[in-house]
Symmetry: C2
Subunit: 298 residues, 2 copies
Amino acid sequence: MSILVVGSVALDTIETPSGFRKDLLGGSATYFSISASFFSPVNLVAVVGRDFSLKYIDLFKKRKIDINGLEIKDGETFRWEAKYNTDLNNVKTISTKLNVFSDFKPNIPDNYILSDYVFLANIDPQLQEFVLEKIKKPKLIASDTMSHWIIEKKKALIKLLKKIDIFFLNETEARLLSEENNLYKAAKSILKFGPKNVIIKKGENGALLFSTNSIFSVPAFLLENVIDPTGAGDTFAGGVIGYLSSSKDKDLKKAILYGTVLASFAVEDFSINRLINIKFFDIQKRLNAFKKIINYGL
Amino acid sequence: MSILVVGSVALDTIETPSGFRKDLLGGSATYFSISASFFSPVNLVAVVGRDFSLKYIDLFKKRKIDINGLEIKDGETFRWEAKYNTDLNNVKTISTKLNVFSDFKPNIPDNYILSDYVFLANIDPQLQEFVLEKIKKPKLIASDTMSHWIIEKKKALIKLLKKIDIFFLNETEARLLSEENNLYKAAKSILKFGPKNVIIKKGENGALLFSTNSIFSVPAFLLENVIDPTGAGDTFAGGVIGYLSSSKDKDLKKAILYGTVLASFAVEDFSINRLINIKFFDIQKRLNAFKKIINYGL
């Protein structure tokens, strides 16, 4: 099974209590594809500028990530600069320079049209819809969003949600979209927009899955050393969709456990540095450790 | 098995988005005893003033809560006034009037001396120690604390911890006591002070259990209607200790599930109003619903 992802590839400048790093490989599509590539081949759709490093291109290629859909455009790559506070629970954006990403028009190569799984990362919902229309017969469609689009393009987002199998969003976004403070009510109200499943990401506090008739709640994997939380959410989604694409059982609960484990690796170093230094064996090992922590003897 | 609790009995004035209530029955020992009384007889040690209502006395008595140790003193009962913000995650204390609680010297009646289980709620650690010395052969000793005592009586608190089987505290307190931002490191460092188990309460984000060789993480029970979060932590502790006191298996993980369920009822109304209107059958029913939500198919 192949997975198509459309989103951002960025150069991040990040400060956390562990240090300051410039021009790190970042962006939603980056984290998602690195994570999903542990499970299935990934088709990447994004745009970068002429300043993008060849070594990053090479990194994608080495991981079964097809970069036919990675447009290289005149101008600079999308840049995000941010600083995390001491307990890593809050991030302050210092600057966002969209650059070539500002007029991003996703370009879907012919060899992507039969992608089985689709992940529409947090871009303009009209572009998410545009990409979706190009894909012939996707088996599963997942999407993410961000507060900006909930505010600016709510109508388009709600229209898109009717086609979504798994909708990922964080607590703040869930409250904003539903206009409900209580997360249970928020999720129920979002389900009414049409997505089959809603996954609310709670960062270090785990994740909640809501389907029409069931709820599922899972804590995060507790870590002793968190270096940089950037990309945890997209890495989580990459693990979830990756597992679903490669497994026979298509068990969404199990997929969420894999997503949780992948996300736990992502935050143990800056950028994708930890993710590219683990093997599938490490994922299985941590999954087993995680299972012990959440084994309630039921 | 009998459970001794020493702590506060208070009259709370609370404002939440659901309303404003004056002179509600509150205090750590109140929530703990109502919760624990679902499992075992409770011996209550606390102090109230002449303004305390007879109907509350009656309420304790009806629930197998021994009030021999509830001193009634000249003066007014401890009063706390607080206001919760919209998403109920922050509470602002408007006023704290210790009144008769300010020079509280726990009075342990003879019939309490053989209590099997002891819960030392968040009072001065020197008073916690004083109470502990009166109890003959406790089978299990649990305690809680608060930031005030970590700052003002750290040495006494650390001394007490050597004798503690289960130490309950919240995230902020864990960080303050350990001087570690990371919760994993915080818990490991607190374990070094001597308690056999440390339970970090995370409110709507569940709880973490740390023992020397294991970690256990459980989400909270997701609720559609949260009215007043006051007392959730002490109700949780009451469920944990209550279950341990009454069960044969003495399974701390299972006890935490019960504590979680009890706490979920506590926040569904002001004060102890919801707790006193449920039966043990309701607890079992919600526990079963909770088990479905956290059944990862492991």
